[in-house]
Amino acid sequence: MSNQALHEKLEQTRAILSVKLAELINMTAIADRNNDDEDSFTQENSELAIATTSVMMVNNQTMQLIKNVQDLLSLTRSIKEKWLLNQIPVMEHSEEPRFDEERIGQLLDNCIETFIAEQTT
């Protein structure tokens, strides 16, 4: 996913999240409001509908909320992956290890000698 797409997706998810949350809060508010106009008999039919649909709606909103949070999680993961995988290795030429050919030669000579010595004696 490109940076742009990631950014857009993030923004989108964030927007959906806030909308869904607001809707869910609204849904609970419906229950409260009904307390006020208890006497209105005319409403009662539509209220039955609200009751059934709102069960469904609340459920639905909750699921969407969860789903989006999960999306958010996977998004952050891909962002982190991007960060990790797109690192450019830093070349560290400055502290080049001292490479002492003389010393190596000496050591090798020594080594070969010891190795052969036993054999030949």
């Binding site: 849904m27 008999f41 709102s54 459920n59 992956e81 290795p89 050919e101 190795f115 054999q119 030949t120």
Partner: protein, 687 residues
């Protein structure tokens, strides 16, 4: 049609029913009626006329002309009109006619002596007014007609009559007004003339639209009723159903019943309300549980993720090769790290050195799961897969013709000391690197062995290589950590050759590093990627080491020969051993690249190991001799394991100067040759 009657024919030809809109819209359904064929449709004839008349006032002159034509030529109209349709639209007949044809028709209708030029608006208006008067006169006649019609209509089917009446009502309100009074018709006309054409067209369109809508609605209603009816009386219902509905919907599939509506009482309402609230409460509770559950789950996951990335951040530097990978067994997306030496010049392909990075939740650690060991599960894999090389030296016991173990290389630190839980991912990588390095070393050693059978190198089994020398035997073996020979002999006493065994192992490793470096160099300097090392030139692991030993043996032998054949015979002579100057290899020297220069430098550092052994033995003859001849031998092993002896002899003294420069590969021949030289040229001189 029901309205048609022979008696009304000639009167109604003058007036008829007046329609203000395209009558064909309505006639469509009726046109199929066979009655219209039987009776001449003349009674309807005036309808278009009047319709046309309304049109005339507002429309273009062309239209006007048309209308005029038809007004004046009833006969013609009658002839032209299609016999099937109840009413016909004159515009339909003449509208599409080109003027060249239309004008002659008009002329003919007007009778001889009429010129088209004479026709003007005023005249036409007059004519129209005249006609309107006639219309009103005939109104009374028409009423009689309709009475007659009604009588007749009763014979016909009911719904047909309905149709007819509908048409009359809906389609022609204007007509009715005209029926009522003269004046009203005139005012109508006046209004009509005042209207602009656009307004008129618009109104007409609106009206047509509305009528279409109404028709649609009514036909829908009819369909509905028919379907409902088909439940009770199928044939009746079917007959009024549209073919489409008949085809698509099963008859009598709709039913209705009347249910009396009872207004709920207050008690009922309250119950309902309580029920509603109960539902709501329940759903909110459910949602709460759901949210809480997923919150717990997600925060757990989040915590793990957080830990994981933290650990990655701490442990993985940007020097590591990290990439995404999909686990073959589980299909999970994972991060993998490459710990193998491929980028450092390794060409080992049996294990690419890739490990998945897995988060071990229990131990709060990152686990590396190498791909090669996918079978082995869990954290024990490092232990069971850990392989290492061991070099053992066996010394031959002359008397028994058998070998005893005289030296063994030790295993490196952590494996033996054993931290069963390797916490740090860095350490895990180290271990893995070590393992893969050892595996590759063994692999390359085995490859090299194929060339060295004639020098006493053999592969005993998949993981064991034996190098035999006259008085000792080397064993290079790839072992896993839990091998029996390790477990049982952990506390063995140090042996005499342990150090040599270790040195040999170190040298083997160094040589593999040199191979890597060379491969890397050639990869950088040439565009062709080296995928496989050539055993002959590239893999130098056993040969340099073996060569050193063999060369030492050759040298000993040669010295012995010299001693026997030269030193012992010529007293006072000595051997001087000299290093042979080597010409520097200028391979790749001309390539200006920082990396290559560095690699060259690094490779050169190991020349001591890699150089082909070469020694010069100069024999110093006693100084007392004047003009002493020069005898020197050069021993070298071009392919590390063989021996070539160059013998140089120069004697410039005296008249007959002698010079030899020969090469032998057999020590026996060297013996003979030395003997010959010493006997012929050196001893004789002395004598």
């Amino acid at each position: 049609m029901t309205t048609q009657e022979p008696t009304s024919e000639h009167t109604s030809s003058e007036i008829g029913i007046k329609l203000a809109l395209d009558p064909n819209l309505i006639t469509l359904a009726l046109s199929s009626n066979p009655n219209s064929n039987l009776h001449s449709p003349t009674s309807d004839e005036p309808i278009p006329e009047s319709a046309g008349k309304v049109d005339v006032d507002a429309q273009l002159e062309g239209d006007e002309v048309e209308n005029k034509t038809k007004k004046d030529n009833d006969k013609r109209l009658k002839f032209l009109k299609s016999k099937d349709s109840l009413v016909s639209n004159p515009h339909e007949i003449y509208g599409s006619m080109p003027l060249e044809q239309l004008i002659p028709i008009i002329l003919r209708q007007r009778g001889p002596g009429f010129k088209f030029v004479d026709m003007n608006e005023k005249e036409l208006e007059n004519e129209i007014n005249q006609r309107d008067d006639n219309d009103n006169d005939i109104c009374s006649n028409e009423k009689e007609d309709t009475d007659a019609v009604k009588e007749d209509a009763q014979v016909e089917e009911d719904f047909m009559e309905v149709d007819y009446e509908d048409k009359n009502d809906v389609a022609n309100p204007q007509n009715e007004t005209e029926h009522k009074t003269n004046e009203s018709s005139e005012t109508d006309e006046n209004v009509a003339t005042v209207m602009t054409q656009e307004q008129f067209v618009k109104r007409r369109r609106d009206m047509v639209e509305h009528i279409n809508l109404a028709m649609n609605e009514s036909s829908l209603a009819l369909e509905f009723v028919s379907l409902l009816l088909s439940g009770v009386k199928e044939s009746t219902g079917m007959s009024s159903m549209s073919p489409f509905l008949r085809k698509v919907v099963k008859p009598s599939s709709l039913n209705s019943d009347k249910i009396p509506y009872e207004a709920p009482t207050k008690k009922e309402y309250i119950e309902l309300d309580i029920l509603n609230k109960g539902w709501k409460l329940q759903s909110l509770n459910e949602s709460k549980d759901l949210l809480r559950g997923s919150f717990n789950k997600l925060s757990y996951i989040l915590q793990n993720e957080h830990d994981y990335w933290n650990k990655i951040m701490q442990n993985i530097s940007n020097k590591d090769v990290i990439f995404k990978i999909r686990d073959r067994s589980s299909g999970q997306k994972l991060l993998a790290i490459k710990y193998g030496y491929e980028d450092s010049g390794s060409t080992y392909r049996h294990d690419r050195g890739i490990a998945n990075i897995k988060n071990n939740i229990e131990s709060q650690n990152l686990d590396l799961i190498p791909h090669s060991s996918s079978v082995v599960k869990g954290t024990d894999f490092l232990h069971s897969v850990k392989k290492f090389l061991r070099v053992r030296i066996f010394t031959k016991i002359e008397s028994e013709d058998d070998y005893i173990l005289s030296g063994e290389s030790v295993m490196d630190g952590e494996g033996k000391n054993g931290e069963p839980e390797i916490k740090d991912i860095r350490k895990q990588i180290q271990v893995l690197k070590k393992i893969i390095f050892e595996k590759e070393l063994m692999y390359q050693v085995k490859k090299e062995c194929a060339l060295l059978i004639s020098y006493g190198v053999s592969i005993e089994n998949e993981n064991k290589v034996i190098i035999e020398l006259p008085n000792e035997k080397f064993e290079i073996e790839l072992l896993s950590l839990d091998d029996d020979s390790i477990v049982n002999h952990e506390q063995d006493l140090p042996k005499i050759n342990d150090k040599r065994a270790n040195l040999m192992l170190v040298m083997l490793r160094l040589l593999l590093v040199v191979i890597f470096k060379k491969a890397l160099r050639s990869r950088i300097s040439s565009p062709h990627r080296v995928t496989n090392l050539k055993v002959d030139d590239d893999i130098l692991l056993i040969r340099p080491i073996l060569g050193k030993v063999r060369f030492a043996n050759y040298k000993l032998l040669l010295k012995k020969i010299i001693k026997d054949y030269v030193l012992d015979i010529i007293p006072g002579s000595t051997i001087v051993e000299k290093e042979v100057k080597r010409e520097e290899s200028h391979e790749n020297e001309n390539i200006e690249d920082e990396n290559i220069t560095r690699l060259n430098k690094e490779i050169r550092a190991f020349d001591k190991l890699l150089n082909v052994p070469k020694r010069e033995l100069e024999i110093k003859l006693p100084l007392s001799m004047h003009n002493c001849p020069c005898l020197s031998l050069m021993l070298e092993s071009p392919n590390y394991c063989n021996a070539l002896i160059h013998i140089k002899f120069e004697d410039n003294a005296g008249a007959n100067a002698v010079a030899f420069n020969t090469t032998f590969s057999d020590f026996k021949e060297v013996e003979d040759f030395l003997h010959f030289i010493v006997a012929e040229f050196i001893q004789q001189k002395n004598v």
